[in-house]
Amino acid sequence: MSLTFLLLAVALLCALSFVFGRQRAIALSGGRFSNLHSLPVHYGTYTALWCGLPALALLIVWYALQGPVTNALVISDLPVEITSDPGQLSLAMNAISLIAADHGQHLDVAPEVVEAGNRLAILHTISNTALIVVLLCVALTGLSLSYRKIVADMRARNNVERIVRYLMIGCSAIAILSTVGIVFSLLFEALHFFSKVNPLEFLFGLEWSPQTAIRADQVASDGSFGMIPLFAGTLLITLIAMLVAVPIGLFSAIYMGEYASPMFRAWAKPALEILAGVPTVVYGFFAALTVAPFLRDTGATLGLSVSSESALAAGLVMGVMIIPFVSSLSDDVMSQVPQSLRDGSYGLGATKSETIRHVIFPAALPGIVGAILLAVSRAIGETMIVVMAAGLAANLTANPLQAVTTVTVQIVTLLVGDQEFDSAKTLSAFALGLVLFLVTLGLNVFALKFVQKYREKYD
């Protein structure tokens, strides 16, 4: 019996309960809804919720417990020789599940295991059948209990309100808990890493070469995990990107907000927003295939040696990517500067550019700073463009014509391919991720504070 069918059945029952509950309320009202405490639709919703929610909860719990319980039952019947050895046990369990799922015909295993597999299949069938029965019972019980509770002055509306509130609390709890869970797993894996590598070496080391020996007999270095070159690379590329994005974004925002005719604005703004919707991987191959070779060739004609994966190429393209971000945020803050300030300035005989420079821009400055900080945190976390265009060489350099690498690029390369989960190399990705997370979090909090402070001023 499939899950889809069960869900459909529950949904159908809910719909029925809704109709029943509503009908009963209407019947009780004797034609005048004002005799009821709530509207008929509230009574319907009330019965539907009482029918559906307990059934859904049961479904979730049942599916969570079914696997462990049936497995435990099967294991308890296996001979001790198999259960005593964890390795053998896990092999046997694999075979058992395959047999139970009817894919085990070609397996060459002990007869006990085959028997256990068949038993597991039977257990699953029993469990599924029981589920259907219990589920329907629960749903129908919920339906009949709530149906019978309906009387004219029952506060169905308030009850529904309360149930819905709990549902919403549940949803926000899931959102918050999963975030917290991710942060904590990041934290614990990073701590695990720091038990292998000195945190001071990680934070202040000048060399990054994470290759370590995977097997004891392999010849390899110990690896060094100094993150400074990665952060320097990240900052260099971010700096280049901001040098591109801030002036262009800001000036285009000023033009759009203050000078452009409504007609031009009407199509230019959406156009900019489309630019924001280009997938970063597209920017990435643009950087790697067009901009980087162009820079290298130009450099060659000028007698400069430009590496074919230069920080400059990645930074320039990342800057272009961030332009719409800067321009739409700063356009927002500048358009929030009240018209009365513009009028005041024009009324004194100021020109447009004087008004912008001396009144609008200073008034919007906190918001613009906030926008720029948000853009910086975007740039620091950006991955795709740098993976494709910035290269892997962990050079500690301030020369934008050389190849550098970034924190995000290293995280990707550390985790791509077959990895041993426990090695310092793999774990270092979590430490890098944690640092990246803290930096962008700090920037975001700071930026939002700035923007908030600005908002208060004109409310």
């Binding site: 009365s340 300030l341 009028d343 009324g347 004194l348 005989g349 008034a363």
Partner: protein, 268 residues
């Protein structure tokens, strides 16, 4: 008490002073909607002219024609003539920026810039290059604040933000800001509508003092205020100038039924 003559209605030069600004045959459209119809009005030098009328009748619109603030609104078309000292201000050779330096404006809601008190007043002189030294600038700021009756209250906190002042102080700061560029005409659009009675009284007193040096046009929704501060009053209705004359005459002996209805409170 002036005798009510046809002169007042046709805006013949007034006996008390000479006409500083004049509107002739002024029509204004917001897009397709006409907001002003055929307005003819003289503003006398060194007098306060009050514009009254029910809300939406075009007082602000007319006021904004006098310093071309309507230029900043999209879709406004104007026909007719507005003169300052007999020069058409809508003439192509007129520089709006210089024009607005000669005709200052004070708005309904106090709108100090989010800068220090000093910088607010210094804003105009700085952008127009009226000063050559810091001392001159200090001088202008001080005298402007003095003229606006604000100096005593703020002289110890010139560097603090103007937005920290009370509403009445902010409005007087805006007047000081306008005065600092030495305009010839000051336009005020309901300058007291956001102020409490005490602040209002102070601003009215100030307007009366400024009259000796400046030509003032004030929009007001309060007839008492018009009676208190103005020498001439113009009554607008539905975008038309219905009647203009000496304030005493308008309030005691209006010629038009609509004016009479408005000032006796029958509509508006």
């Amino acid at each position: 008490m002036a005798v009510v003559t046809a002169d007042a209605m046709t805006n013949a030069p007034h006996t008390r002073g000479k006409s500083k600004m004049a509107a002739r045959d002024l029509d204004l459209f917001y897009g397709d909607a006409q907001a002003l119809f055929n307005v003819d009005l003289d503003v006398m030098e060194r007098e306060v002219t009050a514009l009254i009328g029910p809300s939406g009748c075009g007082k602000s619109t007319f006021l904004r024609c006098l310093n071309r603030m309507n230029d900043t609104i999209d879709g406004v078309t104007i026909s007719g003539k507005v003169t300052l000292d007999d020069r058409d201000i809508y003439d192509k050779i007129i520089d709006v920026v210089q024009l607005r330096a000669r005709i200052g404006m004070v708005f309904q809601k106090p709108n100090p810039f989010p800068k220090s008190i000093f910088d607010n007043v210094a804003y105009g002189p700085r952008i127009h290059g009226l000063v050559n030294s810091r001392d001159e600038l200090d001088e202008i700021v001080m005298t402007s604040l003095e003229k606006a009756g604000l100096l005593k209250e703020v002289k110890d906190r010139l560097a603090s933000p103007a937005t920290g002042l009370s509403g009445g102080q902010q409005q007087r700061l805006c007047i000081a800001r306008a005065v600092a560029v030495s305009p010839e005409v000051i336009l005020m659009d309901e300058p007291c509508s956001a102020l409490d009675p005490i602040a209002t009284a102070k601003v009215e007193e100030l307007i009366d003092e400024l009259r000796s040096n400046y030509t003032i046009v004030i929009v007001t929704h309060s007839m008492q205020q018009a009676a208190r501060v103005s020498q001439r009053t113009a009554f607008f209705h539905l975008g038309k100038l219905v009647e203009v004359g000496e304030t005493d005459q308008i309030f005691t002996n209006p010629r038009d039924e609509r004016t009479k209805g408005y000032i006796t409170g029958r509509f508006g």
